[in-house]
């Protein structure tokens, strides 16, 4: 009983932080219609600033924390809104574009944090004094009490603000129908700015409170905050009360789980994984069980960040791009082995990125879990190759990834936009936590390079040639996906689902097919990446530093451009070689993604558009809502 109470208190400490993070996400979503995927990255950035102020500059805590939470964070939120999200809104961008922009913001902020403070772990200072009071055998920590107080205060203040006040009515009006609210005199801009300011302030509190209990690293803290997505999902992105209760409840439940012991394998391992990953499981379960996130208004179609227009895309452009890519890819074959080795990551990563093009550019579906598919391909290849020929193992790995791809595809038949993005992200995190980071599955793995009909591909040059052959096969598959009846069917399903169905296309079958092809291809790329480094490294298939960054890079280079995906892969590796940091590519990619609102369809399409004569279009910038609606209808 005492242990239960003690654990409950410990759980409340984490639960209150999780609740604050969830409340922040819900507030921003409700006030602005944007689900901020950069929430965790912002929390981490502010935690670093706080560390810098307190530890390095010696600013007293009583000044540093309020400065971070009440001044810096809201200012950043409002600036972000004005610079990035307001232009999107004025252009009437789709929810999918807003989603990708928050991803870009995420990449940019993480890149910025890494460049400024490096990847090394820091010890963050505690924000609140950590006195302990002993009540009999029960120890109560003062910071837990203060945190609970903060949660209560925040929940009450927000409930009043969004409740029966003028501001509350405004917020609800804006959320309901932005344009109508604007027409009826609601200051939409003010509501939006407030939403961003409050949301980022809450993410800052989350970062400051979480950092001391973890070691402060750019990705580590970010991922923990991203796991709190479970809370807004359970609250269906609308109820602050549910968010508060869900946050506290999950915190307590996770702590109480440590009391449960199982000895029988594999349940003991599974329980162990569950004990540290309850939020991940709650996120996935919540997303799969909810029939729809109607509150999400998930009209977001990936179509809007894809510029592909039927078969008749400019042939000249793709010839030029493929020529550049071919020269870039073939030239390392002439290098000595030492330099060649540095280029070996390019084809493998390119295959993975092309697989994202298949799903997003051609299938019109978002996937934020592709590193999970790639990692499964790598892991199964490595496991199988100890008992089977490498090529058989390679096919086995691809099929394993494909199987998970099909499983992920089932919920994707009825899910779109944000709902699907979160679902695929949850799948990726779950695979990473329960498979890649499970020592019993991933320890002692030997990765070999395959041999082809007795010809060993272990040499650096022959292996690179093999990788290029795999990439060429992937690109041939992509070509087939965009031509002929299959290409037309995919485009038709992407353009209009009712129309496709009325013509006799089975949307479910096409969705599963696209997921399967994409996941198999990702599995191949993952296996190639593992063969490059001759090891299985779970960090190479991280749900945050890989999945999210890869997806953003693909969209930046044109979601439907396979050549763009190959170039993006080259950029990643080249930036790493030049700067020595694997995160160097984050800054340009994040920046371009944030600017995507200005180059719909990706950078390459944007450059193409800039070189074409301008057609007579009316930008939405200075138009009234009615005017925009008229322009849109044309």
């Amino acid at each position: 009983m005492l242990l239960t109470l003690q654990l409950a208190l410990a759980g409340l400490a984490f639960g209150s932080v999780a609740a604050l993070s969830g409340i922040g996400l819900v507030v921003t979503y409700r006030a602005t219609g944007v689900f901020n995927l950069a929430h965790g990255a912002v929390a981490t950035l502010i935690a670093y600033v706080h560390w810098e102020l307190v530890v390095r500059q010696g600013v007293p805590e009583a000044v540093a924390a309020p400065l971070c939470v009440l001044v810096l964070a809201p200012v950043l939120g409002v600036l972000g809104y004005r610079a990035v999200f307001r232009p999107l809104q004025e252009r009437d961008a789709s929810p999918a574009e807003a989603l990708v922009t928050t991803l870009g913001l995420f990449v940019l902020v993480v890149g910025f944090t890494t460049v400024l403070w490096g990847n090394g772990a820091k010890r963050a200072p505690a924000v609140f004094p950590t006195a302990r009071w002993d009540l009999g055998d029960l120890t109560i920590r003062s910071d837990t009490v203060v945190q609970l107080g903060v949660v209560g205060l925040v929940a009450i203040v927000l409930a009043v603000l969004t409740g029966p006040t003028r501001l509350g009515a405004d917020v609800r009006a804006v959320v309901d129908r932005r344009e109508l609210a604007q027409l009826s005199g609601v200051d939409v801009d003010r509501v939006n700015q407030l939403g961003w300011a409050v949301g980022t302030a809450l993410s800052a509190i989350t970062g400051l409170l979480l950092a001391p209990s973890l070691s402060l690293t750019p990705y580590g803290l970010t991922l923990v905050v991203l796991e709190t997505f479970a809370i807004p999902v359970l609250a269906r992105l609308s109820s602050l009360g549910v968010a508060t209760v869900a946050g506290l409840g999950l915190g307590v439940a996770q702590a109480e789980l440590t009391q449960v012991h199982l000895t029988q394998e594999p349940f003991a391992t599974a329980l162990q994984a569950l004990q540290s990953n309850l939020l991940v499981v709650a996120l996935l379960a919540g997303l799969l069980l909810l029939p729809s996130l109607r509150e999400v208004g998930d009209a977001g179609k990936a179509r809007s960040f894809s510029s592909r227009r039927g078969r008749r895309t400019s042939r000249r452009r793709s010839v030029v791009l493929y020529s550049i890519a071919a020269v870039m890819l073939a030239s390392p074959l002439g290098y000595p082995a030492e330099q060649l080795r540095q280029a070996q990551a390019v084809p493998g990563l390119a295959v993975v990125l092309v697989s994202i093009v298949v799903l997003t550019g051609y299938g019109g579906r978002i996937s934020l879990g592709h590193a999970g598919f790639a990692g499964l391909g790598a892991l199964f290849f490595a496991k199988l190759s100890s008992g089977a020929p490498e090529l058989v193992a390679l096919v086995g790995g691809m099929l394993a990834a494909g199987a998970i791809g099909v499983l992920t595809g089932y919920p994707a038949i009825r899910r779109r936009g944000l709902f699907l993005a979160l679902t695929t992200f949850a799948v990726g995190v779950t695979v990473s936590r329960f498979v890649f980071e499970s020592p019993s599955l991933t320890s002692g793995i030997d990765v070999h390079r395959p041999s082809l009909f007795g010809l060993s591909l272990a040499g650096d040059h022959t292996f690179y040639a093999f990788e290029l052959a795999c990439l060429v096969i992937a690109l041939l598959v992509v070509r087939n996906l965009r031509s002929g009846p299959l290409g037309r069917a995919l485009l038709a399903a992407r353009d209009s689902e009712p129309g496709a169905r009325a013509s006799g296309l089975d949307i479910g079958r096409i969705t599963l097919f696209t997921f399967a092809v994409s996941a198999v291809m990702a599995g191949l790329g993952g296996a190639l990446l593992a063969q490059t480094t001759l090891s299985f490294d779970s960090h190479a298939f991280d749900p945050v530093s890989s999945s999210l960054v890869w997806f953003t890079a693909v969209v930046v280079f044109g979601a439907d451009s396979a050549a763009g995906a190959v170039l993006a892969s080259g950029l990643f590796v080249a930036m790493q070689l030049v700067t020595g940091s694997s995160d160097a590519a984050l800054l340009p990619i994040g920046l371009l993604a944030v600017l995507l609102g200005r180059f719909p369809g990706g950078v390459l399409a944007g450059l193409g558009a800039a070189s074409r004569p301008a057609t007579a279009t009316v930008t939405g910038r200075r138009l009234t809502p009615t005017g925009r609606a008229l322009v849109r209808q044309q």
């Binding site: 227009r309 039927g310 009846p485 299959l486 037309r488 485009l491 353009d495 129309g499 009325a502 006799g504």
Partner: protein, 252 residues
Amino acid sequence: MTVLEGIGITKRFGGRVAVEDVSVAVHAGRVAAVIGPNGAGKTTLFSCLTGAASLDGGTVLLDGTDVTSRGADDRARRGLGRTFQRLSVFGSLSVADNLLVGAEAARRTPLWRGLLGLPDRRASGDAGRVDRVLALLGLEDVRDQEARTLSTGRLRLVELGRALCGEPRVLLLDEPASGLSDAETDGLRAVLRAVADDGVAVLLVEHDVRLVLDVADHVYALAQGRMLSSGTPDEVAADPAVRSAYLDRTRS
């Protein structure tokens, strides 16, 4: 011969009855039409017949087969072609490719064949059919144009063409004349007649009463989710209940 039949169709949204116990039949070579004031349940009935909505009661027979529990794509492959009131063309495809999808989709070719780049042996007749339909609808001048660049009136024809390329046994048209100019409506009338003369069963939901009375062989008049009257155009037009519910109001 009856191609499509809806028997006792009932559909509720929450507690509200949108369509109650409505029966319609469409025969090969004939044009039937559903008319009724706004909110009469025309579009709901249409959705129930095409499979876009599930039924709360009743049966839909397509060529004598019970398709009540089958999806829209399944019904399409069995020979049900349709157009939409809210346009649903494939905007990024050319007009000819829109029609090609109509011809190809109904065949349900295994997807992996396309993945491996294998040709579809049954595709030989597609190009010819697309050309014939383009000529019938007068869309030859825009055949290679991206569909999203066309006017509403022509997009309606593209949708109609897409449905025709699937060689439908029954064609359901939701407000085909809305957004069409008078000249285009005249063209549509001729096309509908030609399609029906080809042996296709046609059912249209239409606001343009003159078009309906002109082209339809049989008219169903709905009001408040129920069948008000049914018969030849002259009979329905003469029915006092119909006049008071619909015709007079639109004429005035």
